[in-house]
């Protein structure tokens, strides 16, 4: 970055608020729109830091201080003291706009994305020098920066989900590769569910694979009646909704496997094993060995477990469990 003397000249002066174009957001970094907090402090203490503007035709262009200007407008002011840039190039304005934010507070992901985009947009060669990026406290790793830059191009509803932290950076990047409408649909779902990244990934993968296999649009999968009803259910909390939706999707993606699991669990329940005896099937029913775990701390307990084991061996459902695996524990369960 060049020295400030060389970079820009600015002079503080009183300018009419009506002469500022609030709709020109080319240098806007901040995602926050409201200015209630500033409203109070400016009203009581006055404007502590003058916004930075660039003379334009016919209005001034805001470089930094969007919320301060909005707060002053909200207070009914006619004019404000502003720092007016002289002879500043768009890139120099971009540097000023980013610095005013990134050097004052931590930026959120969308703001970082906007900042990186802004640098690229106005950099003389289309790419900002890494020294400038580093000086502004922005990520310099090329791969990371490239991924971050996609965020501010996502649909607004997806960006809102990122800002709410309902959608992580990793998932937002996945959304960036999706068709816009689908990304918005997923973002809406995850804003409601507020679930972990792993569960989001599972849901996205299940929906995508169901859609591919059935030759339908993924949004049709998400629009399924049962899923919508689960999402709207008033008596379920977010975790319960997430759990049921995952199960519904898994059932559609792996019908035979889920049916076998259900059959197994229902047979196992009929065995009334109690708390000290656990029976687990081979993983995904692929192997042939079941696992029986015994928990005890005294000889008496072992004796009781022995009796329980004898009962188990004689139980007809136990035999069905051991012999019915290959058919999903019931002929009707395998399509």
């Amino acid at each position: 970055m060049a020295s400030d003397g060389e970079l820009t000249e600015e002079c503080a002066r009183l300018i009419p608020l009506a002469g500022i174009d609030p709709g020109d957001e080319r240098f806007r970094i901040t995602t926050r729109r409201d200015s209630d907090d500033l409203h109070l402090s400016i009203d009581r203490l006055g404007l502590q830091v003058a916004p930075l503007v660039l003379p334009g035709a016919p209005s001034f262009i805001v470089v930094s201080g969007f919320r301060r200007i909005a707060a002053c407008q909200g207070l009914g002011w006619d004019s404000i003291r502003a720092r007016v840039l002289q002879k500043a190039s768009p890139y120099e304005c971009a540097l000023k706009a980013i610095a005013a934010n990134s050097l004052e507070r931590p930026l959120n992901l969308i703001e970082i994305s906007r900042a990186l985009r802004l640098l690229d947009q106005y950099a003389p060669n289309g790419q900002a020098p890494p020294e400038d990026t580093a000086a502004l406290g922005l990520p310099t790793h090329a791969g990371m920066a490239a991924r971050l830059k996609t965020l501010c191009r996502l649909p607004e509803k997806v960006q809102a989900a990122v800002l709410e932290e309902a959608v992580s950076f990793a998932m937002a990047c996945e959304f960036g590769r999706m068709e816009e409408g689908l990304a918005v649909t997923f973002a809406r779902l995850f804003r409601q569910l507020k679930t972990s990244l792993n569960k989001q990934r599972e849901i996205v993968a299940l929906v995508a694979e169901i859609a591919c296999r059935e030759g339908i649009d993924p949004r049709q999968v998400l629009a399924e009646d049962r899923l919508s009803r689960m999402l709207d259910a008033q008596d379920l909390d977010r975790n319960q909704k997430t759990q049921r939706i995952r199960r519904l999707l898994r059932q559609r993606r792996f019908p035979a496997l889920v049916a076998a699991e259900d059959n197994f669990y229902s047979l196992r329940q009929r065995l009334t094993l109690g708390d000290n005896l656990q029976l687990a099937p081979p993983r995904d029913f692929e192997g042939t060995r079941f696992t029986l775990t015994l928990n005890f701390e005294s000889l008496e307990e072992v004796g009781r477990l022995r009796v329980k084991l004898d009962e188990l061996v004689a139980h007809p459902d136990f035999k069905t469990l051991l012999t019915g695996k290959s058919r999903g524990f019931g002929e009707t369960s395998v399509p």
């Binding site: 694979e209 591919c212 296999r213 030759g215 993606r253 792996f254 019908p255 035979a256 496997l257 076998a260 993983r283 995904d284 029913f285 692929e286 192997g287 042939t288 695996k325 290959s326 058919r327 999903g328 369960s333 395998v334």
Partner: protein
């Protein structure tokens, strides 16, 4: 897929067979000291797998020509030996494991056949029953238009009495093999699938009819045959279509010509899924009900495999009750369910297949069994 670039390992550049193969291509050949340039060519392509099918590298096999089939734990392997004559394939099956097996995948043909013959002589000298095949890392017959590989091997195997060679293919390149003095020591084998799977997933391969006609022509010349329903793809209506494929097989082929038939449901290393999704976005084969098998490969949920196996085995048994029918890489539970016995009941799978080879290919009685 056509060969678009030809690279020659400097060590084999002046060998007569190298010149002979080069003369069959209209693309310029480039001699290279190391394979790095070949790999770089393939790796630089937008679709390295596709490029790997178009780049032929003539070189030496610097390792062993005869290798044990890399069967995995927990599932029964047939004890096959791989004759490692080359790598990769010019056809483009969506499910092909070779797409993610080689890094990068390159069409390589090994020319040091003196070494190959020496290893075969050594194996033959043990006078032990062995089954060998060239169709593990490549299709056995894609090389026929350019080389005399199979003819040489067929003659070589005809000169001994203990081993059989299996040439496994999805092509119909048999014309150069028909009149050879094979002495039934070479089994010509075809992978079979339903018309739907061949049409949608096996790009560049011969049609089912063409494969069966080629097999019938080989049978007419006295060649023993084998068929591999592998990979079996599970889909709605699939069982009925596999039954129809079985019908068509036996409408053309007398079961008495068949040494063995194998069944194997689609399975693949997890890495392959991304390759298939990237290269064949229209393919649905990776969206079946796959679970992670005990060997780390993706396999259909076992009851689904068993159901398909039962249906296909039943159809085969209806036409060929005595044919040696086996599973490639399945466990005892599957065997028992679909065929009613376990390999161990009959001395093990390797023994079953060796005996089928002895019976059908007339191997010598003086050979040792493994």
């Amino acid at each position: 897929m056509r060969v678009a670039a030809l690279y020659i390992d400097a060590q084999v550049a002046d060998w007569p067979e190298t010149r002979s193969i080069c003369s069959r291509f209209e693309v310029p050949a480039k001699t290279v000291a190391t394979p790095d340039e070949v790999y770089a060519d393939v790796a630089a392509a937008q679709d390295p797998v596709r490029r790997g099918k178009q780049v032929l590298y003539l070189t030496r096999n610097k390792g062993a020509f005869i290798r044990q089939c890399p069967g995995t734990n927990h599932y029964t392997c047939c004890g096959y030996k791989i004759l490692h004559v080359g790598t990769f394939c010019t056809m483009d099956c969506a499910y092909c494991i070779l797409q993610s097996y080689f890094h990068p995948p390159v069409l390589q043909y090994f020319l040091n056949h003196a070494d190959l013959n020496a290893e075969l002589e050594q194996l033959f000298a043990t006078r032990t029953n062995h089954r060998l095949g060239t169709g593990e890392f490549t299709d056995s017959l894609i090389w026929e238009p350019w080389t005399g590989l199979s003819a040489g091997l067929i003659r070589k195997f005809a000169d001994q009495d203990c081993c059989v060679l299996e040439l496994k293919t999805k092509t119909t390149f048999i014309d150069t093999l028909l009149d050879l003095p094979h002495r039934r020591r070479t089994i010509l084998a075809w992978s079979l699938n339903t018309e739907r799977v061949i049409g949608s997933e096996e790009r560049g391969t011969a049609s089912l009819d063409a494969r069966l006609k080629a097999a019938a022509r080989c049978a007419a010349q006295g060649y023993p045959l084998a068929f591999h329903f592998d990979p079996i793809v599970i889909y709605d209506g699939g069982e009925e279509e596999y039954r129809r494929t079985v019908e068509r097989l036996f409408a053309v082929i007398d079961p008495r010509h068949i040494v063995w038939i194998s069944l194997g449901a689609l399975r693949f290393m997890p890495d392959l899924k991304g390759v298939v999704q990237g290269r064949f976005p229209q393919s649905k084969i990776v969206y079946g009900e796959f679970i992670t098998g005990l060997d780390g490969k993706m396999r259909y949920f076992k009851p689904l495999r068993m159901k398909s196996y039962r249906a296909i085995a039943q159809a085969i048994r209806a036409h060929a009750p005595d044919v040696c029918l086996y599973f490639c890489m399945e466990d005892d539970e599957v065997w028992q369910d679909a065929l009613g016995f376990r390999p161990a009941d009959r001395g093990g799978l390797a023994r079953m297949l060796d005996e089928a080879a002895v019976r059908q290919c007339g191997l010598g009685s003086g050979c040792r069994r493994r």
